[in-house]
C-alpha cells in the first residue's frame, strides 16, 4: 500500500509547496532571526552570549509572570479535567439527552470574547452581580478585579470557556472503550467504582494525555479575557507571561522578547515531544 504512495513522492511536496513557502517566510526565517537576536544586545547588535537570558531570569516581572502562569496551569488543568470527566460520565449515561447538554456546554466557545467582557465587567465589579449574590447570602463582597481574587476570575473564565471542549474530548475517549469489557465486568458483579477504577480510567489514559496537552495550549488564550477586562497592568495575581510579552513589545525590549520567546519555545517543545511519543504509541505519524 505504501509503495504506491511512495512512487509519486515529489508530487506530495508540490501539494505542500505553497504552505511551506508561507511558513518559511512568515514563521521560520524570522524565528531564526529572533534566536540570533536573543544572543545579541538590543542596540548595536553585539554578541552578548547569554546576557539576555540572565537578564530575563533576574527580571522580577518575568518571575512573577512565570509563577502566575504556572500556578494558573496547576489549578486550571486538574480542575478542568476532573469536571469534564465527571460531566462526561454523567452525559454518557443520559444517552440522547446528553447530546443536548453537550452542545449547551460547547456554546461558550461560540460567544465572542468581546461580547462576554461586558458581562464580566458587570459581574465582577465591586458593586456587581456576584457581590450582590454574596451579599444576599450574608457574605462580604470584594473587589474582584483589583485584589488577589482576580486570579479566581481568570480561572473561572477559562473553565467556563473550555469545559464543553473537554467534555467533547472526554466523551469521545469514553466511547472508544469497548462495551464488551464493561458487560463482562458487570456479569462478574463489579461495582460502579470498581468499573471506573479498573476499566474506564486505564482505558482513558491515552486520550487523557492528549486532552491535557490541548487544554494546556488553550490556556494561553485566557489572555484575551484578561486583557479586555483588566488591560495592560491587571492585578498582580493575574499578571501572566502573555501580559509581560505584550508590555515588552510596547516598550520595544526586543532583546528580552527574543530570549523569552526562545525559552518559551524550549518549554513547549518538551511538552510536544512527550505528546508525540504518546501519539506515536497509537500508530500515529507518517503512516508507519
Amino acid at each position: 500500500m505504501r509503495k504506491n504512495r511512495k512512487k509519486n513522492g515529489y508530487q506530495g511536496l508540490l501539494f505542500l509547496l505553497p504552505s511551506l513557502l508561507g511558513v518559511g517566510i512568515f514563521v521560520l526565517t524570522p524565528y531564526l532571526d529572533v534566536v540570533r537576536r536573543s544572543f545579541t544586545s538590543a542596540i548595536g547588535q553585539n554578541f552578548t552570549g547569554l546576557e539576555n537570558y540572565r537578564k530575563i531570569f533576574e527580571n522580577t516581572a518575568f518571575q512573577l509572570a512565570c509563577s502566575n502562569t504556572l500556578r494558573f496551569v496547576a489549578v486550571c488543568i486538574p480542575l478542568l479535567l476532573l469536571l469534564s470527566l465527571l460531566l462526561a460520565l454523567l452525559l454518557q449515561r443520559l444517552g440522547k439527552k446528553g447530546q443536548w447538554f453537550k452542545q449547551c456546554f460547547l456554546f461558550p466557545m461560540a460567544i465572542p470574547v468581546a461580547s462576554v467582557v461586558l458581562l464580566w465587567r458587570i459581574l465582577f465589579d465591586r458593586h456587581g452581580m456576584v457581590n450582590a449574590l454574596l451579599n444576599d447570602v450574608g457574605f462580604a463582597g470584594r473587589d474582584w478585579m483589583n485584589s488577589s481574587s482576580a486570579f479566581g476570575v481568570l480561572v473561572f473564565s477559562y473553565i467556563w470557556k473550555n469545559l464543553g471542549y473537554d467534555i467533547v474530548l472526554m466523551l469521545a475517549g469514553l466511547s472508544s472503550i469497548s462495551t464488551d469489557i464493561y458487560e463482562a465486568a458487570r456479569v462478574d458483579g463489579a461495582g460502579e467504582w470498581r468499573i471506573f477504577h479498573s476499566i474506564t480510567l486505564p482505558n482513558l489514559l491515552p486520550s487523557l494525555y492528549t486532552i491535557t496537552v490541548l487544554s494546556l495550549l488553550n490556556s494561553f488564550k485566557v489572555f484575551r479575557e484578561a486583557y479586555l477586562v483588566a488591560g495592560n497592568y491587571p492585578d498582580d495575581s493575574m499578571y501572566l507571561l502573555q501580559h509581560l510579552f505584550n508590555n515588552w513589545f510596547r516598550e520595544l525590549s526586543m532583546d528580552k522578547m527574543a530570549a523569552g520567546a526562545v525559552v518559551m519555545t524550549l518549554v513547549i517543545f518538551l511538552v510536544v515531544l512527550i505528546l508525540t511519543k504518546t501519539w506515536g504509541k497509537e500508530g500515529h505519524g507518517d503512516g508507519t
Binding site: 500500500m1 513522492g9 501539494f15 524570522p30 468581546a114 513589545f249
Partner: protein, 283 residues
C-alpha cells in the same frame, strides 16, 4: 427505580451548569432590548451613581428595538469594525482553503523525504502560542512593509499550521482503495485530490473552517500588536472600548458581534465537535 433516581441527581447537577454556560447570551439579549432608563437604573451601582449592588432584571420591562435601530442608522464606526472583522476572518479562511487543504492532502497521501521531520515541525508550530512568534512576526511584517495593513493579520493567519494538521487527520482516513480505483480510471494526482479528496474530506475542511471562524472572530493579540491604526481594528478590540456609560450601545453591539458566531455554531456544531475530537483522539 434506583436507576431513575440517579438520573435525577445527574440532571440536578447538569441544569445549573448549563444555565451558567448559556446565561451570558440571555443577559446580553435582554439587556439589548431594555429601555435606556431601565438599563441605567439597573447598572447604577456599577456606574457609581447609586449605593448598593447591581440586580440585573431577568426581562426587559418595556422591550424596545430602539437601540438596534440606533446602531443600524447612526454608528458608522461599528460597521467599519464589523466589516474589518469579516474581512479578517473571511480572508484568513479563504487563504487557508487555498493553502492548507492541499498541504494536508500532501501530508496524508504521499511519502517523501523529510516528511516526518516536516510534520513534526508543523505540529510544533501549531502548539506555539502567539507570544512565541510575536516578535518574529513583527520583524517580518516590518521588513515586508505590511505593518498597519490588513495583510499583517491575514497573511500570518493563512499560514497557521493547525488547519493543516486537522484536515490531515480527515484525509488520512480516506480508504486507499478509493484512490487506487480513481488511478485505474486514469485520474492524475491533481484530479484525485479534487474529485476524491475534497468530497470525502469535506467534513474535515468544514471542521477546520468552523473552528477557524470562532478563532478569527476573536482576534485580540494580533491586531493589538500589528495594527496601530484603529480604523483597521476588528470588532473584538473595538467593543470593549465602549464604556458602561454607553450601556445600550455596548449591549446592542455585543449582541451584533455574537450573531455571526452564533449562526456558525448552529450550522456547524456537528463539524465543530468532529474537529475538536479529530485533533486529539485517533479513531
Amino acid at each position: 427505580m434506583e436507576h431513575k433516581r440517579k438520573h435525577w441527581i445527574g440532571l440536578l447537577l447538569l441544569l445549573p451548569l448549563c444555565f451558567l454556560a448559556c446565561y451570558p447570551v440571555w443577559f446580553l439579549c435582554s439587556g439589548s432590548l431594555m429601555g435606556s432608563v431601565q438599563l441605567k437604573d439597573a447598572l447604577a451601582p456599577v456606574l457609581g451613581s447609586r449605593e448598593g449592588y447591581v440586580s440585573f432584571p431577568v426581562m426587559p420591562l418595556y422591550p424596545t428595538l430602539r437601540h438596534y435601530v440606533a446602531l443600524l442608522l447612526d454608528s458608522p464606526e461599528f460597521f467599519q469594525m464589523f466589516w474589518n472583522s469579516v474581512r479578517f476572518a473571511g480572508g484568513i479562511l479563504l487563504g487557508q482553503l487555498c493553502v492548507s487543504v492541499p498541504a494536508a492532502w500532501g501530508f496524508a497521501r504521499f511519502e517523501f523525504l523529510g516528511k516526518r521531520a516536516l510534520f513534526l515541525l508543523y505540529l510544533v508550530l501549531m502548539m506555539m502560542p502567539f507570544q512565541v512568534t510575536m516578535l518574529s512576526g513583527y520583524l517580518v511584517l516590518d521588513t515586508l512593509k505590511l505593518l498597519d495593513t490588513r495583510w499583517a493579520i491575514i497573511l500570518p493567519g493563512v499560514f497557521s499550521t493547525f488547519p493543516v494538521f486537522l484536515m490531515y487527520r480527515f484525509f488520512e482516513g480516506i480508504p486507499e482503495a478509493l484512490i487506487e480505483s480513481a488511478k485505474l480510471d486514469g485520474a492524475g494526482s491533481w484530479q484525485i485530490f479534487l474529485r476524491v479528496g475534497l468530497p470525502l474530506g469535506s467534513s474535515g475542511i468544514l471542521s477546520a473552517m468552523v473552528l477557524g471562524f470562532l478563532e478569527y472572530w476573536n482576534l485580540i493579540e494580533q491586531p493589538l500588536t500589528y495594527l496601530k491604526d484603529k480604523t483597521l481594528w476588528p470588532l473584538s478590540l473595538y467593543l470593549p472600548q465602549i464604556g458602561l456609560e454607553q450601556a445600550p450601545e455596548a449591549f446592542v453591539s455585543s449582541v451584533a458581534a455574537l450573531i455571526p458566531a452564533f449562526l456558525v455554531f448552529l450550522a456547524g456544531r456537528d463539524y465543530l465537535e468532529q474537529g475538536i475530537v479529530a485533533a486529539a483522539i485517533k479513531e
